[in-house]
Symmetry: C2
Subunit: 346 residues, 2 copies
């Protein structure tokens, strides 16, 4: 019933009216957190058919099995049958976790994601990775399943704090670095404040779709999307429980991309000029985070729990050149330590 | 790497040796309960490569999110990567829950089911329905995913109490009633004790495979496999928390099939002679269970939470004739009450 898998629109309300969801579903629920309930739901609610609201607390720390239990409990309490629809209105946490709950409730009901953050719009919107964190490990429990539809409208970006948009921008930088040199050249002409978000969303979604189509379950080429994420996820996880130094996903990935750029120069001879260009642009957009020397060991240890590893070697996607990434580059822990030390020296 | 999706063998040890699982997997775990650990694992363990043991408590009451958390925790603690294999050695609970955990750990690792009960061999072995119970509802949370291989050897039946085998036999009876009149005619020549299990497993697996192939996610024809299960599941759920009257799955389905045979005669004019034949054979194999009058209301209420329902009508698969079932027959609660009352009058 949905015309496309991913719809990028500048008028979500007209679109929602035209979809007339009520003709296809027996029940509809909208999953929100306290932020999207306050800032995003009012934008669209008058164009949604009757719906039940399921409200959870925002934040990565709530992307847990306990919150899933609450969502499943609500769907059960509301007597949602298999012809029900769950609309996930929010950022990556809402989309990943709501999608996981929908995919597993009565072995799967339909769900539509309406990503409201730049990060979710350019990253989580494509690829069908769903899931939750478990015992401190990011996205440790989940499934691959595409939403029945993803609806993206850049108007939601106006509801976000700047820091949130900047976090999403890290994935945009990543897309250009791994697969599109001319996109990179275009991005670095402007700083964060002068980017054109609607164009960027279209470009990034198309790029990611193209990669995911070739390898939906990440057996090979899709792994290049993990550039910056092996060390980045470990850093994000490490600081997750440290209230003061908490990093947003993109902020951690920005650090991860710099560290993995160093690995790329060591292992794949990425030219020094490219290393400098990447380092300079990312630092100019994100500044430098402080990582204490005695924190490095645990961060490296966390890298070894990454889902992509095999046989205890740590698996990276690295850059041969700007715009050209390769995957399954297995790296030892010592070299990872060195890369993080090098970041400290900037 | 597996030659077939479902392998029915009379020599599982030779098969396991030939598979040389260790050449394809970085880690292997075997999920067992206290029964299969004691009675089934010894049969095969010398022909398995090095493995870790994950042991849970047997029984439907442990098919919960808490047990999943334990299994996920163990896989995490053992640092299982995506090239790991989980072997589920046990009945339906082990296969359904172990399969669900494997399907969701790091978004999915390979798993092999070795069903050790007749019920799991003829029913859960085919069809990729995985999941757990939630807040008292059977298989409420789960996914559809086929095991990478199912290995069936009837030798495991020798490890079972008679009551367990008899429970599985209910699904065999169901298979014949919904899709194969000559199979039914053959079955009723003999009582439970004189059936030939290896033949029965082959016949039932082939029949179920044939149905599932046409409709893997139960949008239409696969629903016929639910004959006896709408009322049967409700009865099973109702007695789940009553220690004394606890019914095994097949025992509840036997009652469900009789009740739904009555519905078939009311709604689809299933001939009286067939009703009698079905009732007589099932009662001869299972005896009659006592359902108190004041229990019926809650059982009927439970039917309305069945996953197959739409818009609060209760969805049944019923018999037009022996060997010929139809699906999406929506029934009101009053008629269900009548059917259960009629069972009481036998």
């Amino acid at each position: 019933m949905f015309p496309e898998e991913v719809i990028i629109t500048q008028n979500i309300n007209t679109l929602l009216r035209d979809l007339s969801l009520e003709t296809n579903y027996s029940n509809i629920a909208v999953l929100v957190d306290e932020n999207t309930s306050q800032y995003c739901l009012p934008i669209i609610e008058k164009n949604l058919p009757d719906f039940q609201l399921i409200k959870i607390n925002s934040g990565e720390e709530n992307k847990t099995l306990d919150t899933c239990s609450f969502i499943w409990h609500e769907l059960t309490r509301l007597k949602f049958d298999r012809k029900s629809l769950l609309i996930n209105l929010g950022g990556g946490v809402i989309g990943d976790m709501g999608g996981f709950c929908a995919s597993t409730y009565k072995r799967g009901i339909d769900f539509v994601n309406i990503p409201t953050t730049l990060l979710a719009q350019v990253d989580a919107s494509v690829g069908g990775k769903l899931g939750i964190d478990f015992e401190g490990f990011k996205n440790h429990i989940g499934v691959f399943r595409k939403p029945d539809c993803v609806i993206i409208d850049s108007c939601f970006l106006n509801t976000l704090p700047e820091r949130e948009i900047r976090s999403g921008f890290a994935e945009v930088i990543k897309h250009s670095l791994i697969a599109d040199e001319s996109y990179w050249e275009k991005l670095i002409q402007k700083d964060f404040y002068h980017q054109e978000w609607f164009d960027i969303i279209q470009h990034s979604v198309a790029l990611k779709k193209n990669v995911v189509k070739k390898d939906p379950t990440e057996k090979n080429i899709r792994k290049i999307l993990n550039f910056g994420h092996t060390i980045g996820h470990a850093i994000e996880t490490y600081y997750l429980n440290k209230k003061e130094n908490r990093l947003l996903h993109g902020e951690a990935i920005a650090i991860g991309m710099i560290c993995e750029t160093y690995l790329s120069s060591t292992i794949l001879d990425l030219p020094e000029s490219s290393v400098k260009e990447i380092e300079d642009y990312i630092i100019a957009q994100y500044g430098k985070s402080s990582i204490e020397k005695d924190e490095i060991k645990e961060i490296v240890e966390l890298c070894s729990q990454d889902k992509k590893n095999e046989n205890e070697l740590i698996n990276f996607s690295l850059l041969e050149n700007i715009g050209n990434a390769v995957f399954n580059k297995f790296v030892e822990q010592d070299l990872i330590t060195k890369a993080i030390l090098k970041y400290r020296e900037i």
